[in-house]
């Protein structure tokens, strides 16, 4: 069976088939890679840079970051607290979805951008307490509209920083490079 397959593959037609298959696999992979590097479609085209430009602190909308594992996405009540006082909210096409959700009382379904896999236990608080700024991981929000993922959150990215920040302190390195610090 396998031998027949190999024989067939050596035929010109077979070589073309191999080429097509290779191209198919490659393009699926390439497309997959491409999609992960794009900001996902969000229900509202939320412009981070506009909000940052108004001088709103990150922690105003994502207060969980200083207190616990999850930074959190703000409730629409929080959005509305400011936006109901802004005249543009009533007219803007981009803001229409917000108005709609608030008026109909349905939650906005955001697509999370900065994610770690399920087997990673990440805690914002410890990172904020260690003096890390939001932009170190999440990029410069003064230039982003919809949040993008400036880097892939893989283990190399995390560990690189963990080791650097431990420096020469052996006890700290033991803690920061320990598998059990993030995986359990």
């Amino acid at each position: 069976m396998i031998k027949r397959l190999f024989d067939w593959l050596k035929q010109p037609l077979g070589l073309i088939a191999v080429g097509i298959v290779f191209l198919a696999v490659f393009s699926v992979a390439a497309y997959g890679l491409y999609t992960t590097q794009q900001s996902p479609a969000q229900p509202i085209q939320f412009p981070h840079k506009t909000h940052v430009a108004f001088g709103i602190q990150c922690l105003y909308c994502h207060p969980g970051a200083a207190k616990g594992p999850s930074a959190g996405i703000p409730s629409q009540a929080k959005c509305w607290a400011c936006h109901q006082q802004i005249a543009k909210t009533q007219t803007s096409v981009l803001l229409a979805p917000l108005k709609e959700h608030v008026e109909s009382g349905t939650p906005i379904e955001w697509v999370p951008v900065a994610q770690v896999p399920d087997f990673v236990q990440f805690n914002h608080r410890a990172h904020v307490a260690a003096g890390q700024n939001c932009e170190n991981c999440h990029g410069d929000m003064t230039t982003q509209t919809i949040a993008e993922n400036p880097q892939v959150f893989n283990m190399g990215f995390c560990l690189d920083c963990h080791i650097k920040s431990a420096g020469e302190d052996q006890a700290k390195l033991n803690k920061l490079a320990d598998c059990g610090t993030c995986h359990y």
């Binding site: 399920d118 805690n123 608080r125 410890a126 560990l159 080791i163 033991n174 490079a177 320990d178 359990y184």
Partner: protein, 246 residues
Amino acid sequence: MATVTDLKITELKLSEAEGGKWGMVIDQDICTGCQACVAACAMENNVSFVGDVDSGYGRSMHWIRIERFWEGEYPEVKMTPNQPMMCQQCGSATCEPVCPAFATVHSQAEQLNLQVYNRCVGTRYCANNCPYQVRSFNWRDYERPEPLPNQLNPDVTVRTRGVMEKCTFCIQRIHKAQDNAKAEGREVVDGEFTTACAQACPASAITFGRVDDSESLVSQLIKHGHGVKHLEELGTLPNVTYFKGG
């Protein structure tokens, strides 16, 4: 980017003097075998139930089990004291060196035996090499029909098929307690938190704490009692002390 060789993690010293960090004391004389610890562990750690057929094959995934044996013939039958058995978090664990994927590693920071699920490739060498038989393997993706997943603890990874798992001494609780203490600028206090099994135990037969702190309750119990550590003669340096009592 750092590579593995850059890491200068201290080699574990396997001397007797090297005690663990976290330890447990179990009083078998008052353990009633009620299984509250087993249930509490399963609920805390997202342990899958495997169903009747796989249970029959010995694939149930209890991270902690209560062993008991019969002694003597009727009418002089006696049950040996209930023996809750879970990962002994050995200082020199036999499961660790056999893992080809470095998924079963020793935590330098917490002195625990870790199981890194995302590294595990399911060779099951570690389970075969564990003298306490406390590791359980995910033979399948065990079904948790909706809405049961609502109960899952978000602090603990949900394991999938082909992954080994075992008692972690509730490392998520250790981290949470340490994180809380750090946020408040203090050290973790003895008894501030405990493992799910110790917390539930109606007989308070399980005590958990720092064995490297001579003032902690576990250290005091170990010091003043006649406890045994199981299979200590193998040189595994287990961190669970049993009081047989009676």
